[in-house]
Amino acid sequence: MKTCIACGMPMENISDFAANDQGKDYCVHCSRPDGEMQSFEEKKENLTKFIVRTQGFDESAAGKIAENMMRKLPAWKKYFD
């Protein structure tokens, strides 16, 4: 099974893929409305907001967690070298 290169989510159903396209390596949550993959900054901001919303953490602490999540994913590796 494919996992999203930008967030690690397993992609099982066609609706999990960006633009319902099983050829894509990233998921529906990591794509922009036009189907392109979000940028590093966009993804980091979205993840940070998500952590704040679900766990209530301070925004800068949440930002660090978001970076640590992204560090392990193929789409963002190059931003950490």
């Binding site: 998500f50 952590i51 679900t54 766990q55 209530g56 967690i65 640590n68 999540m69």
Partner: protein, 201 residues
């Protein structure tokens, strides 16, 4: 493909180190020296470093096993149209399975190496992700009170952690605290967050 005896031996040693470290860390905490782990596992101290060059590497390996199990269990539920009750039950199932290890983690988290600490926070974020997707749906349906997601999540985690961290008072033996209190914790929490017409029996 034929696996050489040497390779089999190597992976057996690795497995022994992992199982022993998991047991010793759970019983005595993460500051137990690796020399003790080696002795208990019946392997040479040097071979620990072959498999795990640093304590952090060993911790990450143990944490990943716990995290993969938690992630996979909650993800399986996500595929069905599950309720908050089912999600919390599954959360407790996995915690019960790893209870001694998890209790050590929450007790000693601040003393862990940075990467191990960060791995643990990422695991909790995965739990929060599944929790929020269920709770969002239930709030929308009107079955759960419209309260901030993070407070709902932190209240649940805080409750469970309180019992785990005070095991000595909540349990008189080596029995599982989660097994003993799970029904009470679940029904009370659900009664707190559910809309009145949906009271959980």
């Amino acid at each position: 493909m034929r696996v050489s005896t040497r390779q089999t031996q190597k992976s057996n040693t690795r497995k022994k180190i992992i199982e022993t470290a998991y047991r010793i860390f759970s019983e005595k905490g993460f500051s137990v020296p690796t020399s003790i782990i080696a002795k208990e596992a019946g392997v040479s101290h040097g071979s620990i470093f072959v498999h795990f060059p640093t304590l952090n590497d060993l911790l990450i390996c143990l944490l990943s096993d716990f995290g993969d199990n938690m992630g996979a269990s909650l993800h399986m539920l996500a595929k069905k149209c599950y309720s908050v009750e089912n999600l919390l039950k599954e959360h407790l199932n996995v915690l019960e399975e790893y209870e001694a290890f998890y209790s050590r983690l929450i007790l000693e988290k601040n003393r862990l190496p940075d990467e191990a600490k960060s791995t643990f926070v990422i695991i909790q974020s995965t739990v929060a992700f599944h929790f929020s997707s269920v709770i969002d749906r239930e709030i929308e349906k009107g079955t759960v009170k419209k309260l901030p997601i993070h407070i709902l999540f932190n209240t649940w985690l805080g409750l469970v952690h309180y019992y785990l961290l005070n095991k000595e008072f909540f349990s008189d033996s080596n029995g599982s605290v989660i097994r003993r209190y799970r029904a009470e914790l679940l029904s009370t929490y659900l009664n707190l967050i559910k809309k009145e017409s949906e009271v959980y029996e």
